[in-house]
């Protein structure tokens, strides 16, 4: 499980360091390195220790630490989303909220059922659950780290003022969790935004074919990714359940063997051992599928959503541009405020063209990143599945050979 998790962080980091931006000159740019050096799980909250190492003069110190919580990461993401200057970029998606509910529930259920199982079985299951909890924990750390790294490696984002504050300011950012009103307000806003988006998609036909195509593609793609992620999640979860069943069976076989005083005793003990080992392998298959398949799908689902946001921002820009054009015509007709209108139109035009250029670059980059990530992960997935299947075949072969020898 260890290798799998570390790989994820690497993969996603790889994407970030990929060339394709004309502005990035030096690939091995170490001028701003960010990582999460530590994390603490406290009741409901996870506290991440963000560690920064930098050679940039804008920072006060060359190396420093701050403690941040999930909400502060979300705050940072929202600041980028809102910033007009970044309208032409794909904003890296915010990391998902740390969710230990499932693990906690399972742990609780286990505690309740303690009386019905043997001590060994209980310990085994507890170990399994603790490993699961640890894995979830590592994952959430990796996701938060990836988010920061993408920002740190982006030539434009890394200079953002809010980003610097996030990294440096050693006090609490006072980003309290949204209270009820804000949450509802946020919901309303996102609702209207979506209808906006639909409207935009419907009424404003894009001049540029490329963007029109991309828009249609991304809407579909995002939805399918969402579906695929959900289905992959269900599948891997059930796979884990199958693996866990083996624990009970193994225990049952051990118990049968202890009350048996015939040949079966040794036989059953061997089989029980085999089941235990098979269980570990199956468990690893499930978690590798989760990492390589589900997580990749999930990440690109979020990334494709971010790409969609870019497109909609651009479309709004187009609407502004068209409005400016209309205003200019009206002004010219009335011969009033023509200069102001000309200026406005020019600005809108510039902005729009900038956005289109940048946007195209970003979208091409998105495609490259996506294809590369899928390739790496699918190859990894296949290799891991093969490795585990071969291990199981070997396990069963050995077991059968030794059973037949009896």
């Amino acid at each position: 499980m260890m290798d799998g998790l570390d790989d994820t962080a690497d993969i996603l980091n790889d994407d970030v360091r990929k060339p394709g931006r004309s502005e990035t000159v030096d690939l091995t740019d170490n001028s701003l390195m960010v990582d999460i050096s530590d994390a603490l799980s406290e009741k409901d909250k996870v506290k991440f220790t963000v560690h920064t190492k930098t050679t940039l003069p804008e920072f006060q110190k060359p190396e420093f630490l701050v403690v941040r919580q999930h909400e502060e990461f979300v705050w940072l993401h929202d600041r980028f989303e809102e910033n007009e200057d970044y309208a032409g970029y794909i904003i890296p998606p915010a990391p998902p909220r740390p969710d230990f509910d499932a693990s906690r529930e399972k742990l609780q259920k286990l505690g309740e059922g303690e009386g019905t199982m043997t001590k060994e079985e209980f310990n085994k299951m507890k170990q399994e659950l603790e490993a699961e909890y640890l894995a979830t924990f590592k994952k959430t750390v990796a996701m938060h780290e990836v988010f920061l790294c993408r920002l740190a490696n982006h030539p434009v984002f890394r200079n953002d003022h809010n980003f610097r504050v996030f990294l440096e300011y050693d006090q609490d950012l006072c980003v309290r969790g949204k209270n009820k009103m804000e949450v509802i307000g946020g919901l309303m806003k996102s609702l209207t935004k979506t209808t906006d988006e639909f409207l935009l998609s419907a009424t404003v036909k894009d001049v540029n074919d490329f963007f029109e195509q991309e828009k249609n593609f991304l809407i579909d793609y995002h939805n399918h990714l969402k579906d695929a992620t959900a289905k992959a999640d269900r599948m891997t979860k059930r796979h884990k359940d199958v693996a866990d069943c083996y624990i009970k069976i193994s225990t049952g076989l051990v118990q049968l063997s202890t009350i048996d005083n015939s040949d079966l005793e040794k036989f059953l003990t061997k089989v029980a051992e085999t089941f235990e080992k098979a269980r570990k392998i199956e468990g690893r298959v499930a978690s590798d599928e989760d990492l390589k398949l589900s997580d990749t799908l999930r990440y690109y689902m979020r990334d494709s959503f971010a790409a969609k946001r870019l497109l909609y921002r651009r479309l709004r820009c187009l609407v502004n541009y068209e409005n400016a054009n209309r205003n200019l015509e009206k002004a010219r007709a009335k011969n009033k405020d023509v200069h102001a209108a000309e200026l406005a139109q020019q600005q809108a035009c510039e902005k729009f063209e900038q956005m289109s250029d940048k946007g195209k670059e970003e979208l091409m980059d998105f495609k490259t990143r996506r294809v590369a990530a899928f390739r790496k992960n699918l190859v990894d997935l296949a290799e891991l599945e093969l490795k585990h299947a071969k291990a199981q075949v070997q396990l069963f072969k050995n077991c059968l050979a030794s059973l037949r020898d009896e």
């Binding site: 990714l225 269900r234 069943c245 118990q255 079966l264 093969l386 075949v393």
Partner: protein, 470 residues
């Protein structure tokens, strides 16, 4: 095989008579509970009152000794016979089933095919159609005859109201889940017949033979139906027995039995637990198969949408792989069930049969103790009468004493015999259990291994596709 002994009357009669129907009928009803030295129930020897009757009424202890015929004594000739029979085979299979009739009266008829070289049968291979109640009827008859002597009677598959209703209610079109149920039942009926056919005594029983080869419909075993009058009687009897089991505590003087009873109890608990765990595994694996299929479809849709050609192709391949994996999971779940789960269920039921036979012994012990008490009372009475000088009554009492002395002797003999028989049967059970478990578990592991090997093939085919993404 017939060399060493004189042909029992059964043989000649069978060969001569063309119309066996009537005789078989009589053998089924009036056959003996006990067996003579040949271990072959002689249908025409003893025409005492039907044992069936006494089992269905509350067994009155006083009647008991007269109904029990000559107890079983294992002679050396018997052991010879059992060895001689090793080259004989009796292969029974339940090959297919078909629904007969429509609506409430509908039922399923199972086709039973037998291959044998045993001389007791008329042919070397033959086929009959039987319905589920026939199987239950067979089990009942065998129980009546042999349980009392200490044989472990293989239990018949359980009834299922839900399953039967499905059969009755389903029309030709919706065969689906009812077909599933019948298929499972067919498999368990086959296992039941094979267990019975591998028992050295049961396999030659005339009722069993009739069941396998009589080319006619068996009289409907109405007393197996849950709602019949006989069914009610059986239910009441069962309640009575259960109360008995709880209240009567036998003083066990035989350490073997003490140990074995405990072992059987432990085995029961552990097997049930293991069975439950395997059932859960089957359930989860079936769900895994379902979810894998859903994911495969989702991946296929994604592949259609994907604009990058080689990625799209890889995703399509992924969808195909997952589809195949789904089939694998389903097959494995079915194997989990039919190989492992059913084995465990059968053994839980067998343990039930063992407990029954142990309980028979307890009942016999009870009778013996009761007879002993009666004997003591009669002796006291006789002594009293003699002392008080009533010679006539005294001699009457004396006769009663002699009667009860005989009864006590018979009871003790019965008890000793059932004790011996149970020990023998348990030996046989243990040998079979070890054999069964070993072979089934090995089969299951081979299954798991094959599944993994298939997985290797599928992923190996996929890997180059993934690498080909440009």
């Amino acid at each position: 095989m017939a060399d060493g002994r004189e042909p029992p009357p059964l043989f000649e009669v069978d060969i001569d008579k063309q119309d066996d129907a009537e005789d078989l009928f009589s053998s089924a009803v009036e056959d003996q509970v006990g067996l003579d030295g040949n271990e072959l129930p002689n249908a025409f020897d003893n025409v005492s009152t039907s044992p069936k009757l006494y089992l269905q009424e509350s067994p009155s202890v006083e009647n008991l000794p007269s109904e029990v015929s000559a107890p079983v004594v294992k002679t050396s000739s018997l052991e010879e016979m059992e060895k001689e029979r090793e080259d004989q085979f009796l292969d029974v299979s339940v090959t297919e089933w078909q629904k007969v009739g429509e609506g409430m009266g509908a039922y399923v008829a199972y086709k039973i095919v037998t291959y044998t070289n045993m001389p007791l049968f008329h042919n070397r291979n033959f086929t009959v159609m039987r319905r589920f109640s026939d199987f239950l009827g067979l089990h009942d008859k065998l129980s009546e005859k042999y349980l009392r002597t200490g044989r472990i009677i293989p239990p018949a598959p359980e009834k299922s109201v839900v399953g039967m209703t499905k059969i009755k209610m389903s029309n030709q079109a919706e065969q689906g889940s009812s077909a599933d149920f019948v298929e499972k039942r067919r498999a368990s009926l086959e296992r039941y017949l094979n267990r019975t056919a591998s028992h050295p005594v049961l396999k030659v029983d005339p009722d069993f033979r009739e069941f396998l080869e009589a080319d006619m419909e068996l009289p409907k075993a109405t007393n197996t139906s849950a709602l019949s009058g006989a069914g009610m009687m059986r239910f009441l009897n069962k309640v009575g027995e259960t109360v008995n089991k709880i209240t009567y505590k036998m003083e066990e003087s035989d350490p073997w039995f003490e140990e074995k009873t405990q072992q059987v109890e432990n085995l029961d608990i552990q097997l049930r637990k293991l069975h439950a765990s395997v059932e859960t595994l089957v359930l989860h694996r079936k769900e895994l198969a379902m979810f894998t299929a859903a994911f495969a479809r989702s991946a296929a849709t994604l592949s259609n949408c994907e604009e990058h050609t080689s990625l799209s192709r890889a995703l399509a391949q992924l969808a195909e792989v997952e589809d195949k994996v789904e089939t694998l999971h389903n097959d494995q779940a079915n194997a989990d069930f039919s190989v492992l789960c059913e084995l465990l269920k059968d053994y839980v039921a067998l343990i039930g049969a063992i407990k029954e036979v142990f309980h028979e012994r307890v009942k016999i012990y009870q009778n013996w103790q009761h007879s002993q008490q009666m004997l003591n009372k009669k002796r006291e009475l006789k002594a009293k009468l003699e002392l008080s000088g009533k010679a006539e009554k005294g001699s009457l009492a004396g006769m009663e004493v002699i009667e009860w002395e005989a009864k006590v002797e018979r009871c003790q003999e019965e008890f000793d015999n059932i004790t011996k028989m149970i020990k023998k049967e348990m030996e046989r059970f243990e040998v079979n259990r070890v054999k069964d478990f070993k072979s089934i578990i090995i089969q299951y592991l081979e299954n798991l291994m094959t599944q993994q090997q298939q997985l290797i093939k599928y992923w190996e085919a996929f890997l180059p596709e993934a690498k080909a993404i440009a």
